[in-house]
Every structure is written in structure tokens, then in C-alpha cells.
């Protein structure tokens, strides 16, 4: 009896939130699904039912496949770099030293910055005429002339990834740092006594404690990176020659610039589906790691 009551009470307590969620997420989502089967324009009403035409057109277009590759590259590289840098920063900030509190606070700054501000900042740094990066590299004699970092397809995506990493590694570091505090002192002390070197200590003693929380960070960051829009829109608008155009930018162009709400909706749903698959896969992984770590 009490368990039924618990269940009822839980659902009752969740009800207000669920209503809000359905209103702000559920309804627009259903509306978008409906829209994706029509040829509706952005302004004006309705549109005619066109079946799966929008999906077929989108999936078969060369724009889509090229953009998917760009997005995947961006997501994989930036998330991997953020994980590595984040964990290293956390290990460092977990040491005892003077000024640690100040450094910990400073580290949050990039993450606390609005993305648009961050993107504008990096645009200035990469500026081909008076950017700080060009100035620094020429003064260090690493390059002999100023270069157009965001104007060359070879460097533009890398430049964006660096900017994204700078902004987002603190999130990973923060999560890792919290997890590090939970590593029992006596275990690390014991491993020292047993003669484990720094790498082995990290690999066999510390990492198991980090695995679960890091998985959460990985899921969050991958989903975010896959949906990336603002930082790229501000820095390159998908250029040069579409070499940094991601799926979200393609959705934006289709739905808003070209005003084809129908096919834009179908593309948006394809992206949603891809992200959902990723999220579910990760969730399974988290469950597994969490199970084995403890």
C-alpha cells in the first residue's frame, strides 16, 4: 500500500513540472514533427502535406553529408580535448598550494562568459591584420608573416575548436575536481606505500573514482558540441567556402534564411534524432561504468 502511495505522491509532486515541460517542449516538438511533413514557408499559413519528401531531400543532399562530417569532427575533437585538458587541470588544482582558491575561481571565468562574448574575443585574437595570435607567433619567430586563421579552410575549424575548448574545458575540470575530492586519502596513501608510480596511481586508484562523473561530463559536452551554433555563427558564419558549416547552421539557413520552415523542421528533427541516439548510447555506458566503478 505504502509503495502505491509513494508512487502516486511522486507523480503528484512531479505534475506541475510535467505540465510545464509538455507545454514548452512537448507541444513545439509535436508541432515541428507536423511541420516537417509539409512544404510550409516561415511566414504565412499552412503548407501542403508532402509526406517524407523533405526527409528524402535533406538526407540525399551533398550539403547534409558534408555538414555531418564537419559537425562530427568538431564534436569529437573538441570534446576529447576538453576531457583531457579538464582532467589535467583538475589534477593540478587538487594539489595543495598557495593561491589555489584564486586559480580555481579564475578557471570558471571562460565558462561563465556568454558564448557570443567568447566568440567575439577569439575573433579579435585571430584577426589577420592586428590579432594577438599573429603578433605573438611572429614575435616568437614561429611564423614569418601574419596569417588568416579564420579565412583558410585548413585552419578555420581548428581555430574554432580551440576557442570552444577554452570556453568549455572548465566544466569538465569542475566535475573532475569535485570527483577528486571524493577519492579517500588512505587509498592514495596506501598506493604510495605500495610503490605505485604517478601514472599507475592515476590509472588504477584515481580514475575509477572519476569514471562515473566524467561520463556525465562527456554526455553533456557531446550533445552540446553536436548542436553547436553560436560560436561558429559569430566567428565564421560557416565559411570559408562552407568549411565550418555545422548541422545547426544548415537548419538555420534552411528554415530562416531560405524561409523553408517545412524542410528546416525535417532537418532539425534528423539532428534531434542523432543526438538522442548518442544520449541513449552514453546513458547505457554511464550505467555500466557506474556499476563497475563502485
Amino acid at each position: 500500500m505504502s509503495s502505491t502511495w509513494m508512487t502516486t505522491r511522486a507523480w503528484l509532486l512531479m505534475l506541475p513540472l510535467l505540465v510545464v515541460m509538455v507545454a514548452v517542449i512537448g507541444w513545439p516538438l509535436v508541432d515541428t514533427v507536423g511541420l516537417s511533413f509539409t512544404d510550409a514557408k516561415l511566414v504565412g499559413t499552412g503548407g501542403n502535406y508532402v509526406g517524407f519528401d523533405n526527409y528524402a531531400n535533406m538526407l540525399s543532399s551533398s550539403n547534409f553529408s558534408r555538414t555531418l562530417v564537419t559537425t562530427t569532427l568538431f564534436a569529437v575533437i573538441s570534446v576529447a580535448a576538453e576531457m583531457v585538458i579538464g582532467v589535467l587541470a583538475a589534477l593540478l588544482l587538487n594539489q595543495q598550494f598557495h593561491g589555489r582558491a584564486v586559480l580555481r575561481a579564475l578557471m570558471i571565468l571562460p565558462w561563465a562568459l556568454p558564448t557570443v562574448v567568447n566568440a567575439t574575443l577569439w575573433r579579435l585574437i585571430y584577426n589577420p591584420e592586428y590579432g594577438a595570435l599573429n603578433a605573438a607567433l611572429t614575435q616568437l619567430n614561429l611564423i614569418d608573416a601574419y596569417r588568416s586563421w579564420l579565412g583558410e579552410p585548413g585552419t578555420a575549424l581548428t581555430a574554432l575548436i580551440v576557442a570552444d575548448c577554452w570556453k568549455n574545458f572548465p566544466l569538465v575540470a569542475l566535475i573532475a575536481l569535485a570527483a577528486l575530492q571524493a577519492v579517500p586519502r588512505d587509498i592514495t596513501a596506501a598506493s604510495l606505500v605500495d610503490g605505485a608510480g604517478p601514472f599507475n596511481r592515476f590509472r588504477f586508484v584515481i580514475l575509477p573514482y572519476l569514471a562515473g562523473p566524467l561520463m556525465v561530463a562527456l554526455v553533456l559536452r557531446t550533445i552540446e558540441a553536436f548542436k553547436v551554433f553560436d560560436i561558429i555563427w559569430v566567428m565564421t558564419r560557416g565559411g570559408p567556402a562552407n568549411s565550418t558549416r555545422t548541422l545547426s547552421i544548415l537548419v538555420y539557413q534552411e528554415a530562416f534564411s531560405f524561409q523553408r520552415a517545412g524542410s528546416g523542421a525535417s532537418l532539425a528533427l534528423i539532428v534531434t534524432l542523432l543526438v538522442t541516439v548518442l544520449a541513449v548510447a552514453y546513458a547505457a555506458l554511464v550505467k555500466k561504468t557506474a556499476g563497475s566503478a563502485v
Partner: protein, 412 residues
Amino acid sequence: MLKTITKTLVGAVFAGGLLVPHAFAETTLNALFMAQAAYSEADVRAMTDAFTKANPDVKVNLEFVPYEGLHDKTVLAQGSGGGYDVVLFDVIWPAEYATNKVLVDVSSKITDDMKKGVLPGAWTTVQYDGKYYGMPWILDTKYLFYNKDILEKAGIKTPPKTWEELGAQAKTIQDKGLLKTPIAWSWSQAEAAICDYTTLVSAYGGDFLKDGKPDFQNGGGLSALKYMVDSYKSGLTNPNSKEFLEEDVRKVFENGDAAFALNWTYMYNMANDPKDSKVAGKVGVVPAPGVTGISEVSAVNGSMGLGVTAVSKHPDEAWKYIEYMTSQATQNQYAKLSLPIWASSYDDPAVTKGQEELIAAAKLGLAAMYPRPTTPKYQELSTALQQAIQESLLGQSSPEDALKTAAQNSGL
């Protein structure tokens, strides 16, 4: 007696109560402008303040976005149900805005005086299918700016009359070691690149469309892109041009790092302002050059207009505001960053004083303004062309192939 006074007072309060809300009945207009080129934000605010002072019952909320966001912001605001009363729009959008009912047809409000007084080229900015969708406001084209100091040092007497000559002069400047890359353009993956390309298309006598189908991949359209690629590959063009917008071009020119630059009217007085510019007093301006045997000068129609949106609840007040903003008096008063749409303004000493060189260039340039194609699918066409231009510059594709692909992807 007391009773009468009370009655009077009550009556007065009552009448006042009726009158007060009426006298202060405020109409609030939301207007969308751009914070880039042409009139500065400060100019637009000053003009608007003067309007609201003369019309105290109307309040105008101003919003400014970069040019790159102007189209999408307008359409999105309308698509989401809210929206602006007055919007600034580019010459390339009336076809799409009219087809999708973003702007209202204001043909009946255009008076004969307006029709007679405004330059014919300006009207093309707001017309589609024989109807008027607003008032022209910014009459603009791209001019060739040059650094008089550098040209003098290179021993060049007169600025170039043809694009070929421009290349030759740039080569001289480069050979004499005055500048590494003397020409600056705005070839970022944006509409700015299309404006430079259109200027060249007009010089080479090309066509964007023929019978509604893409024709830029042939003749003048192809020659225009080839010129851009040659200028880029020869090293005469600043290679960073491919990530420049107009503001970047202005900064490079003002820093003395460009001998030649293609840009809008606003750069003339800004580059001549010693506060921000190192080249103040050395700024020369002429119409963009032509091509021997084809054209004397070249120009793109980069004008913009003000229109009333279909969702505006106060179309009459909105039009009144537009009339004020586009009036000859207002435009003559703020003629430093953007030139008036009114023909007689160009002979008014109040407008021409201190910028005679610009006015002389404008008389030739504005008369030669070449339109970008009028089609509801302009955004797609432009996006495809931007990609073609960038791929050709980067050597990923030949100009021929790139333009052929753009023609296929143009949606036309």
C-alpha cells in the same frame, strides 16, 4: 457657492480624466535598423528624437542589428507573431518580402512630389512587380577609394579608370615596396562579397539571370569572378580580404595598409576623420572603374529602404515616421555618412560642402547602379554564389565549375 466649486472641481477632474488619457495617448512604434555602414546609430537616434519632439504622441523604440542579421531578424520577428512596425530593408529583399507578405504595399501613399523629387535609381530599391513597398532611404553604391599619399609616392598621377589599370597601378605600388598587398575587398562568405562581385559583373556587362534562369556562369559573370581570382592569386589583393566585411576593409584602409579599397559612401567621411583614421585628408574617391570597350564606370545598387510591416498595428504613424526619416530636410542635415535620395540635394551647398569629391563620384556612380537579381529566392542564389566565390578564391574549384555549380544550387 462651495457646492458649485465642488461641482466644478469634480467636473474639471472628470473632464480632465477624460482628456488626460487622450492627450497623452501614446502610440509606440518598434523600428529595426542596422548598426553598420551608412547612417550611424547616433544619426538615426538624433533623427528619431527630432521626429518624436515634433510628434509627442508617438514613441519610437529603436533596435539596431548588424546587416548580417537584419533579414533574418525581420522575418523571424514576424514569423513568431510579434514584429516591428518599421523595418529597414535591402534592395534585394522586396521580391521575397512582397511574395511572403512581410511588407505592405504603400503605392497609394507615394505622392507625385515624391515621385518627381527622388532619383529614379532610388525607386528601384523599393519596387517589385510595379508596386511600392516602402520609401528609399539609403542611396548607396560601392566606390573605389584610394590613398592619395601612396599613389603620389608611386608616381601615379590619376586613379584608375579601368579594372586592368587598377591591377597595373597596384603592381607598381607593390614593386616600389610601398605596400605588400595594395587592394582590399570584402570577400567574406557574406552578402558583402556579392556586392563586390556585382560591381565587377556590371563592369564586364554580365547578366545574373536570363529569362529567369541563371546566366552568371557565362560571359561577364564569369569574367568578373576570374578577375577576382586573378587579383587574389597575383598577390595584389590582400589575402585576408576573403574574411573581410566592409568594416574590416575600412580599418585596413584607415590604417594606411591599402592603396585601393572598394566600399560604401560612409567610409569617405569616416576615413577623413583624424580621430580614428591615419589617412585623414589623403582619402580619394572615384566611381568603381570600368572595362575598356564595355563600360566607363561600374556600380552595384546597394541602396536600402524603409517599409511598414504587414503586422504593424499603427501603419499610419509608421508611415509618418518613414516620411520624416526620408524627407529631404532630414536627409540633407545628415548627408555625411549617406547621401540623400532627392535629386536637387546634389546641388545644395549644404550637402556638397566639404565632400565635393564624393558628390562628383556619386553623380557618376549612382547613375550606373547595377541591380542584383530580383527574385523571391534571392537568399538561396546569394548563398550559392558566396560559396562559388570562396571556393574559386581558395583554389578548390575553377571559376567555371564553381559558377556552374552555383547555377544548379541557386534554386532557380
